[in-house]
Symmetry: C2
Amino acid sequence: MNKIIEKGELKYMQVAEGIEQLIHEDIFKIGDKLPSVRLLSNEQGISVGTAFQAYYHLEGKGLIESRPKSGYYVRYNTRRMPGVPATIVPFVKESEVSINEMVADVYNYITADDLINFSFACPDISLLPAARINKSVVHAIRSNKNHCLHYEHLQGNVELRKQIARLCFNWGAKLTGDDIMITSGCMEAMMMCLKAVTKAGDTVAIESPTYFGIFQAMESLGLKVVEIPCDPVTGMDLAAFEKAIKKFNIKAAVVVPSFNNPTGSCMPDANKKKLVELITKYQVPLIEDDIYGELYFGKNRPRTCKTFDKEGMVLYCSSLSKSLAPGYRIGWCIGGRFLNEIRHLKSIHNLSAPTITQVAIAHFLSIGRFDYHLKQLRKSLHVQCLRYIQAISEYFPESTCTSRPEGGFVLWLELDKKIDSYKLYKEALKHHISVAPGRIFSTHPDYSHCIRISYGKPFTPDIEHGLRVLGQLVKKMSR
Amino acid sequence: MNKIIEKGELKYMQVAEGIEQLIHEDIFKIGDKLPSVRLLSNEQGISVGTAFQAYYHLEGKGLIESRPKSGYYVRYNTRRMPGVPATIVPFVKESEVSINEMVADVYNYITADDLINFSFACPDISLLPAARINKSVVHAIRSNKNHCLHYEHLQGNVELRKQIARLCFNWGAKLTGDDIMITSGCMEAMMMCLKAVTKAGDTVAIESPTYFGIFQAMESLGLKVVEIPCDPVTGMDLAAFEKAIKKFNIKAAVVVPSFNNPTGSCMPDANKKKLVELITKYQVPLIEDDIYGELYFGKNRPRTCKTFDKEGMVLYCSSLSKSLAPGYRIGWCIGGRFLNEIRHLKSIHNLSAPTITQVAIAHFLSIGRFDYHLKQLRKSLHVQCLRYIQAISEYFPESTCTSRPEGGFVLWLELDKKIDSYKLYKEALKHHISVAPGRIFSTHPDYSHCIRISYGKPFTPDIEHGLRVLGQLVKKMSR
């Protein structure tokens, strides 16, 4: 039965992809009426149900629309998408990180209910398998011999580490649970890794722009940063990185190579390989944040830098906060040759992660529901991504450039240079809308006219309203 | 009904206390036969049941024993307890903390099943209300509108903070949830507080001996320590502390004033008040670890330093790891004037604590079961404490000195000066017994002949066997 459904899925997808291609090539133009469901069914030799499914899928992506009693019409052409943001070459020098109040401001609203929240890169709860996870929680408290009351193993629950080793196999790693250290989310993993390979006063290379949490970590550890320019599609400029290594005494590098936050860029596998060769040659430990790696829209999961790491120089960090359960705070790192030091730091800091969350998630992963959930989540996110981009191209000024993420959660928008996005943030807040201002993604003001929009929430009328209001504010401010 | 039982409890306790006093004063001598239950009942005007309860209680404390078909006999006299360890004045100078492998060694066995474990200061699972907590977990996943999947508020779950403010009322604090910051256990609270008030290279005053986790925190933050001598009964020597403040440039102090780990000392309330006056006068922020404060054996809960803090100079840290659920990693701090900085540091490090554990524990606290549980736990720990001391006085060499904790979990044993307790630790491990060697509680070798014994586990034949074997090893090594 399952097999048949799967086959059916493939067929409607094939048909939908064919139609999408025709729209993209302007053979079906915007406003054109599409063949009726019956005609499509006859032409393609598929059932009426499958033909409906194909149109339904394209409608979900916002490419076509149904008009009552008339049929399906082309609504949108991906070629009409807004331009892509330019690579901004930050003024490269060593600089003390200066954390600003903006981040605290934005984060303050993390649990607010009355906001249209575009500022958190995090999945909507409706996209997560709550019932299944709850079952695993109940299983955990019933099956664990100490009722999950005892401290966990310092390195993390043994079964959970095994399950994570299995996940890592997806991107070509052959690991055992012993290679993995469980942490309270990905940021804790990053903090521990940074602490393990640097000391106060050291200089670390990072991408520009970069996730503000990484800046804050650096500042808190007394580190200096060198920002390396990044291509909005392929990520870190490796030539610029090598130059920086030669110029500065760089002690470590931090990258988010797959579906970067905030730009959405994805470093091609060949570049990842080259990056690992570089850091191995210069013996610069590389801290890799792969938190978005599983959320790809394409056919295959991108590799990781760790895939190409032969000498244990890559410290790989990830978590389930973006893909399964943000509030469970389950992260991990693969510390390579620095594992012992990382375990020591974690045990000093907060001993071990909570037991119940680890036992429950280990159970959830072991029953094999995660793969299925991920498939659904990727599909939803891809659709949301396209719908958000379409709304932005509709409501924002024409000069607005938008990234084209192939995975992850976030859109990076380049607005008119005149716009101060922190002012925009403040203004939007008055309308109960929250966005992440570009200024918080760099130590330099280069991105002051950019904003980051998370498309973690399904595209509802509320969301559309939010984007419309935002667009109006941007238009007003760019006058 | 409840009221009657409570009255009954009081009566048997009164009778038991009377007999205990007579034993203590050597009126009933060791080996003496005690009055029969019937006689006791007649003499005291109590029911036979209550008389039984009184004897049963004294038997639980190890003071008397029943001999089959003969009656109750005096088994032990608290005056025959071993001596109390001396105050050791450590060689006071500033010193780089050097963390040793010993701690990693001891901690490695945190989840081992096949050990008689005297090295963890933590309650046996059988002493914890597992079924009630599990009910609260189920309530949490059912009642939370996001199924506990969403990130929690950065400062911690609002209801949990309210409940903790209520707990703090027990020691005289008038707080609201806004004053409290939830952390992943007490050590994380301590780390955040230390980071908030010091920077690398600063000097911090600590007690001697002190919990090794505090040393490790210091080392990891690049801090220097000055160890202040402590009385085994009343805790930190305040005159020595003031002298140290004048001599060194002390930026903060860390104390465990109630039921200190490892010595078990409890600073009298008057000393706590004086300590707070001192640190306020010299403007030295005081980090107070009150993790054992609720586990008192006497009539009243000891005050905290925070009780006497008028200027927000005390950073109070605690958790539920010793009293309710070690594996839940629920800790908190009251940051006083440093709260904002602490919240910032926590959010950088791992965003927020997990949601499900916070929601569940908030529910458990709100239904009012915690007070009842604590009463039971205190009683059990008190009995265990006495039984352990008695076994030690029986099986260890006569020269062994043992602390007399009035609360908490741990006994501090001073052995023959010849004994290297790390060697003893290694030797005991061969017999599947784990103790905490004294060397890990100081940067100096002053405590190399001491060990710390946790009495968190009920006194079973296994435990008695463990103490007997330990005693034999000590005897062998002191030859």
